[in-house]
């Protein structure tokens, strides 16, 4: 087990190194840099001003030197300064992380708490009207883009209640605080819940046909015990895998949701930083996300062992 852990950790480091190179060079391949954008916005180019600014920001140096400055800084925890706001990049990134983390956490919670039970019900009641209705719901969840769903929720809120649940940085009541995150989390988590539900259903259907389920029923175990204790426990592995992958993909959905609901999280901030070619923000933020995703995958692998005693990581 220890050797496996060491090997996995080494692989993670190699992966992260590769990712850092991809992030850095992909960003340089995108045409234009912050200086181009600033001068484009001002509608003029003074070559001397432009050269001065490139020198000031260090983007006139060879790429390898720029890479070394960045990655060595990242390892030391020195993220540099945002080109746009001229504030420390860490100071810009850190306050936004809890906002997105809360939103993502709630979306995943929504996804699991809706998707898994409904997936189980759909499998247990296979072929019934309820099953068909739930399958329609799950299909619609996969088909509706989250930005459209978000706008629909906002429009309906204004039309029906004269209120809209956009981000409130200083909620006065518990309900306001909940609404600030819950509605956008539901909008972005709906697709994820639909996917979880479909995976749970198919996995449950497979497990429910196994001999040990029939044995459990023959021994007089209740439906609830069979479905939730014996079947779900064995059907949950693919669901955990999907939720792990969804956690990584969620950032894509959050970009639109944060834009529509005007939530000042990292996802929207990242898009803005890319638009401005704000390298210190983009590089460090994407690298942080990569670290989180790589660790999330590692955690999911470790969770397999917890949920399935047959899985043991050995040397």
């Amino acid at each position: 087990m220890f050797a496996y852990l060491v090997r996995r950790l080494f692989l993670m480091l190699v992966t992260l190194f590769g990712i850092s190179i991809v992030i850095f060079f992909l960003l340089r391949i995108v045409p234009g840099n912050i200086v181009d954008i600033l001068f484009a916005a001002a509608g003029y180019v003074d070559p001397a001003d432009k050269a001065n600014l490139e020198k000031e920001l260090g983007i006139d140096q060879p790429l390898i030197v720029q890479y070394w400055h960045w990655i060595s800084g990242f390892l030391r925890g020195d993220f540099g300064y945002s080109y746009v706001s001229e504030k420390p990049a860490l100071q810009e990134i850190l306050p936004r992380i809890p906002i997105t983390a809360r939103l993502a956490g709630l979306a995943l919670l929504f996804s699991a708490s809706i998707g898994i039970p409904l997936g189980v019900i759909s499998a247990v009641k296979q072929g019934t009207k309820l099953d068909y209705a739930l399958r329609v719901v799950s299909l619609s969840g996969l088909s509706l883009p989250s930005f459209w769903l978000g706008l629909l929720i906002l429009t309906a809120s204004v039309a029906m209640f004269g209120q809209m649940p956009i981000f409130n940085p200083n909620p006065q009541t518990w309900l306001e605080a909940f609404a600030t995150y819950a509605v956008p989390a539901a909008a972005v988590g709906f697709r994820s819940a639909a996917l979880t539900m479909r995976i749970t259903r198919s996995s449950m259907l497979e497990v429910l046909r196994q001999d040990y389920i029939r044995t459990a029923r023959a021994k007089g175990a209740s439906d609830a015990a069979v479905n939730y204790h014996h079947a779900l426990k064995n059907a949950i592995l693919p669901v955990i895998t999907v939720i792990g992958i969804e956690a990584a993909f969620l950032i894509g959905g959050l970009i639109v949701t944060e834009t529509v609901f005007n939530i000042p999280g990292v996802a929207r901030f990242l898009v803005e930083a890319i638009r401005w070619r704000d390298y210190p923000i983009v590089q460090n933020l994407v690298m942080l996300i990569a670290v989180v995703v790589v660790f999330a995958n590692f955690t999911v692998d470790m969770l397999y062992a917890v949920f399935d005693p047959r899985i043991r990581y050995t040397d």
Partner: protein, 532 residues
């Protein structure tokens, strides 16, 4: 004796009542104006930007030497009022503009304002000081200024190379605040210090900008508001829905398109909305240095093919203006009169006749029904650029030109245009000041950085200088019309239309004036108050 005491009590009460209540319609003190902002500005330094996304939130932090009267919609030389200056005078054959400065004014950090601050600001703008702006997009505005000299702490003179009456108009723009000497340009980008009615509190990129009332403002009794809070919402639908839901007191100025304005009015029927010209023209930039548009016949044919009314009716439901370079009257001060405009090829009302003429020119150049001219129409990847570009492509089809839309990301647009890597481009040009000096020199003079088409006509340059020095408004106007007509006839940068846009506010917001011939100059907000 008893009655005397009673009378005194009544008198005291009435004095007290009069001092603590406000008559209906009289401005009330207090309240935070909540407005959404369409975009996250790159920084907080007005001098280093070229978008009104900067002026709207940061103009309230500053003062100019002079300013356009904030309660009159039309900017003109006649409604410029002193601000940090108390008075001004043209001397030395109109080659020196002297300002007497207001005394006792303090910067927001408590330091006193003096003539040295004015000199610092304009030396930096002219590139003459040790401290430099990162970007200085309006340096050319001061090409005719030799130097700025102080005479004591409260007098400053602009010494010009030649008379330029419009200098005053440029100084009155929202783009011309006075900066403090003692704060570096870098600090002004992140934490601006001004003398204006509101102090800067906080700017969180992509989130919010907060200003608070300046209690030491030199104009006693102003501002009325306790503060202004801008919430940055880039999604237009979300922003407008939030205004409709009452989350905001006011929309971002001139942010509501004509079609969306109907939605706002239907959902928030109490909202007060106005539609005004933005003094932003949508125009065509033509690369006349390379084939096929190096052929003057093809350029003229293209100009003749334009059906400007179709653009206006499709994009603005009829609510936009057709004109030349200068914003047309009645909102614009310098636009050509209608009969003169219609005498320019392509502006006449008979579109079919114009297009027949255009077809003949195309045939002369070797194109016809069997041989179309393929053209790339480049434009920025923004709706206000893309939508008219699509209509342009459709209209060009009628004269054997097959256009293909080439959408360019903002970061690449200007470098592409600057290196002349385009055939036709659809462009937007905003004018900070409704004055020919700003527009002509910037967009049409030989060698100007914003003269994207490299149009260069030495004869017209002489006329630019002649109108610029003319002090008689009527004479200057005639010269301006002549120049504008010539620019359109030369297809220097065909103007398609001048846009209009809407601004809305809740009925309790008072004292808002939306400028009708510029989108850059009307955001001091010291007269705005809330009847709540």
């Amino acid at each position: 004796m008893r009655s005397v005491w009673a009378l005194a009590a009544v008198a005291a009460l009435s004095v007290l009542t009069a001092s603590t209540t406000t008559r209906a319609g009289e401005p009330k003190q207090g309240g935070i104006l909540r407005m959404y902002h369409r975009d996250s500005p790159g920084n907080a330094s007005i001098h280093e930007g070229a978008t009104y996304s900067l002026n709207v939130p940061f103009m309230p932090v500053f003062n100019n030497l002079v300013i356009y009267k904030q309660d009159e919609p039309q900017n003109s030389l006649n409604n410029i009022v002193p601000e940090l200056a108390e008075s001004w005078a043209w001397v030395n054959d109109n080659k020196t503009l002297t300002f007497k400065l207001r005394q006792g004014v303090k910067w927001h950090d408590g330091k006193p304002f003096t003539a040295a601050d004015v000199k610092c600001t304009f030396d930096m703008l002219m590139g003459k000081s040790q401290q430099k702006f990162r970007q200085n997009p309006r340096k050319a505005w001061y090409n005719e200024v030799n130097d700025v000299a102080t005479n004591g702490d409260f007098e400053v003179s602009f010494n010009l190379k030649r008379p330029q009456p419009s200098l005053l108009a440029l100084l009155a723009s929202g783009y011309t605040p006075v900066y403090p000497c003692h704060v570096s340009p870098g600090d002004m980008r992140t934490h601006p210090i001004g003398t204006g009615p509101f102090k800067f509190v906080d700017f969180k990129a992509n989130e919010s900008i907060k200003l608070t009332r300046n209690p030491d403002y030199w104009r006693k009794g102003r501002p009325y508001l306790d503060g202004i809070e801008f919430t940055i919402i880039q999604n237009r639908s979300t922003a407008i829905l939030a205004f409709v839901a009452g989350k905001f007191d006011m929309t971002f100025p001139t942010h509501i398109t004509i079609p969306l304005l109907k939605d706002v009015k239907s959902q928030a029927s109490n909202a007060i909305c106005v539609v005004e010209p933005t003094n932003v023209s949508t125009n065509i930039i033509v690369n006349s240095t390379a084939p096929p548009f190096d052929n003057v016949d093809i350029r003229r044919a293209m100009a003749l093919a334009l059906d400007r009314k179709a653009f206006v009716s499709i994009l603005f439901e009829g609510q936009a203006d057709i004109g030349g370079t200068m914003l047309p009257p009645p909102h614009g001060l310098w636009g050509m009169p209608k009969d003169m405009l219609e005498s320019i090829p392509g502006y006449g009302p008979d579109v079919n006749a114009n297009r027949e003429e255009a077809k003949k020119l195309m045939q002369k150049a070797g194109y016809g029904p069997d041989k179309h001219l393929p053209v790339k129409v480049s434009t920025r990847n923004l709706a206000e650029y893309r939508d008219p570009a699509v209509i342009l492509i459709d209209q060009l089809k009628s004269i054997y030109i097959d256009g293909e839309l080439d959408v360019v990301e903002t970061a690449n647009w200007f470098p592409k245009v600057a290196r002349k890597d385009y055939m036709l481009g659809l462009n937007l040009t905003g004018n900070a000041v409704d004055d020919p000096d700003q527009s002509f020199y910037e967009n049409y003079s030989c060698g100007s950085e914003r003269n994207y088409t490299n149009y260069c006509n030495k004869e017209i340059e002489k006329l630019f200088d002649a109108q610029s020095q003319e002090t008689n408004i009527d004479k200057r106007k005639k010269l301006v019309w002549e120049i504008d007509k010539k620019l359109q006839e030369d297809v220097a940068r065909p103007i398609i239309f001048h846009a209009r846009a809407g601004t809305c506010w809740q009925p309790y917001v008072k004292g808002v004036t939306v400028m009708s011939n510029s989108s850059y100059n009307g955001y001091r907000y010291e007269d705005v108050w809330m009847d709540k």
